[in-house]
């Protein structure tokens, strides 16, 4: 495209969404823009700070009661008196401003599993959330990014926020995953390859002929962990898998954006799914990835299967496939946390909960719980856990001298049975 002598480079998918929400024909990387928001999210840890700021600033109303959502998931059901006070503060605020999408114990789920399931995010949306894993909704072809409580406050009040337009890294997906390799292995492989700051300030854009072989739940898992590579957002091209997923969930208008053929990328990688092996991220960074040919015997104390990364129904099916008619190892605690009430119900109908309980697992109501060391499975000094969660930082799941190993539901379940870090082929 040539206008008045200037050559305008094409735009990435993210840039097109941001341009549309800023009322501009085009934007380029580095440009500062003010964008309209389709959804502003907070949880029981980040919302109280935003509410305090909202009140201090003297705001008297929110911009749209249907476009602000709060999910009580981190320390809920209330883990202690202080956590109870934080949830109450959110509940009172949502009551006062008549916020439609307030999700409390009983109908809540982990926010990033819940919002897509409820149809609250559509392709082409511009979403901010006071939780770093808000990048999950990029799976649906939305621009979605984590921000802090002050930005949440301003977003709730004004329905707008400023962004610096990001550049992008393109991931061209080809092939199909082998049996017992999972989307989690793909994203861990990518983070291992580019590092925890490999996509700092940038978009990770996923497209290619192999995309059709990744289910929506696979994509949600991968977009979820874009932040673990430092990315501003992860985003997937919209295709038949996307449209099939949203057709009975999203009942409003939305717009599909595609990257221009001449969009500029700072780097491009081809990811052949058929080469992806079960992968484990060792303490204390998600980039410390190893495949099983590099893993010696690691004795474990706990397994957690759940979280916004891997607590969806397909994840529980994978875990149940491994745990069926088996029992977890002595001295291992295995905690299974369906991410939402709907996932919980579906797992019950399919007999998965029975498989877990027969295998010796504890099954919990939805919560972020142990993923961030909140409750429901905290580690003692020196203990090790294999978890399907997203971070293995120092002290993430409990004592600063405990260890978290990140893996897929297949590997987590196999490890629970083995009592050591194991892949399905080790125990089948």
């Amino acid at each position: 495209m040539i206008i008045k002598g200037f050559i305008l480079m094409g735009m990435t998918m993210t840039q097109k969404i941001l341009a549309a929400h800023a009322g501009l024909d085009s934007v380029k990387a580095g440009q500062l823009i003010m964008a309209d928001l389709d959804l502003v999210l907070g949880n029981d840890v980040t919302s109280p700070v935003a509410i305090n700021e909202f009140n201090k600033a003297g705001f008297t109303d929110i911009f749209d009661k249907n476009k602000v959502t709060m999910v009580m998931d981190h320390f809920a059901p209330n883990k202690d008196i202080k956590a109870a006070a934080q949830c109450k503060q959110c509940r009172d605020f949502c009551g006062k401003y008549d916020i439609t999408n307030f999700f409390d114990v009983g109908d809540m789920g982990i926010e990033h599993a819940l919002l897509p399931e409820k149809g609250l995010v559509a392709p082409g949306d511009c979403v901010i959330g006071a939780d770093s894993h808000t990048c999950t909704y990029g799976a649906l072809g939305a621009f979605s990014t984590g921000i802090g409580s002050t930005d949440m406050c301003a977003g709730m009040a004004k329905g707008k926020t400023w962004f610096k337009v990001p550049g992008a890294i393109k991931f061209n997906i080809i092939g199909k995953l082998p049996k017992y390799s999972a989307a989690k292995d793909v994203i861990l492989h990518i983070i291992g390859m580019i590092g925890v700051d490999g996509a700092l300030y940038k978009s990770m854009e996923f497209s290619g002929e192999g995309l059709v072989n990744l289910s929506m739940e696979d994509r949600l898992c991968m977009a979820n962990m874009a932040i673990e590579a430092g990315a501003k957002n992860g985003i997937f091209a919209v295709d038949s898998v996307t449209l099939d997923y949203i057709k009975d969930k999203v009942n409003r208008e939305y717009k599909i954006f595609e990257a221009d053929a001449d969009a500029e990328y700072e780097a491009e990688y081809t990811i052949d799914l058929s080469t992806i092996k079960p992968t484990v991220a060792f303490p204390h960074l998600p980039e410390n990835t190893k495949t099983f040919d590099q893993i010696d015997k690691v004795v474990i104390d706990q397994v957690v299967i759940g979280s916004c990364t891997n607590g969806r129904i397909e994840d529980l099916r994978c875990a149940a496939e491994i745990l069926k008619d088996k029992h977890i190892a002595k001295n291992v605690r295995c905690i299974v946390i369906p991410a939402t009430q709907k996932v919980y119900m579906q797992a019950m109908k399919e007999g998965l909960l029975e498989i877990f309980i027969n295998a010796g697992c504890a099954v919990s109501t939805p919560t972020c719980g142990p993923c961030l060391g909140g409750h429901m499975g905290i580690l003692a000094k020196g203990e090790r856990a294999v978890a399907t969660t997203n971070r293995n930082f120092v002290g993430r799941m409990g004592h600063p001298e405990s260890e978290v190993y990140l893996a897929s539901p297949y590997v987590a379940a196999a490890s629970a049975v083995a009592g050591t870090i194991a892949q399905p082929s080790d125990i089948m």
Binding site: H74, G148, I227
Partner: protein, 159 residues
């Protein structure tokens, strides 16, 4: 506008879970959180830090969670500025929004050592290590950022 103090030095990828562990996030009282700031990697930080001190990290400082409690706990502990090679983007935004000055400078982050007496001039971006007698050029703060920091945060600056 300047900051000057003694340096607390850390390495790459200082994440928000070590800046303020989630087990303390059942409160939004930042003075309370400051008592636990950095404790998982530097158990004596809260005891040793003095008003005006400076924190220096290396690459990807503040990675991980979006918790604004992280820069807020650093600020409430008395730290007057954080210098790093690079910052994780949510932390960067949060720090500015709550009025905690942060500055990217690769050379300063590499050379400055724990205990050094360091001064930062935000208008010029010049970082002076008085202990070593060296200066480094960091990015200067544009006027709107100076205004946010002088106003003690974004929301105050909008009033």
């Amino acid at each position: 506008m300047k900051a000057r103090g003694k340096v607390h030095k850390y390495g790459d990828n200082v994440d928000t879970d070590v800046i303020i562990p989630a087990r303390y996030l059942n409160t939004a009282d930042m003075q309370e959180l400051a008592k636990h700031c950095m404790e998982d990697i530097d158990i004596d930080f809260a005891k040793n830090v003095k008003q005006g001190d400076i924190m220096v990290g290396e690459a990807n400082f503040g990675c991980g969670s979006s918790r604004e409690h992280a820069p807020a706990a650093i600020k409430a502990s008395g730290i007057s500025c954080v210098i790093a090679k690079t910052f994780a983007r949510i932390f960067y935004r949060n720090a500015i929004n709550i009025g905690l000055p942060i500055i990217e400078c690769e050379e300063a982050a590499e050379k400055i050592e724990a205990g050094d007496d360091v001064e930062i001039d935000f208008e010029t971006g010049v970082i002076t290590d008085h202990t070593k007698g060296e200066t480094y050029q960091g990015q200067s703060f544009p006027e709107f950022l100076i205004n946010i920091i002088n106003s003690n945060g974004l929301l105050n600056s909008l009033k």
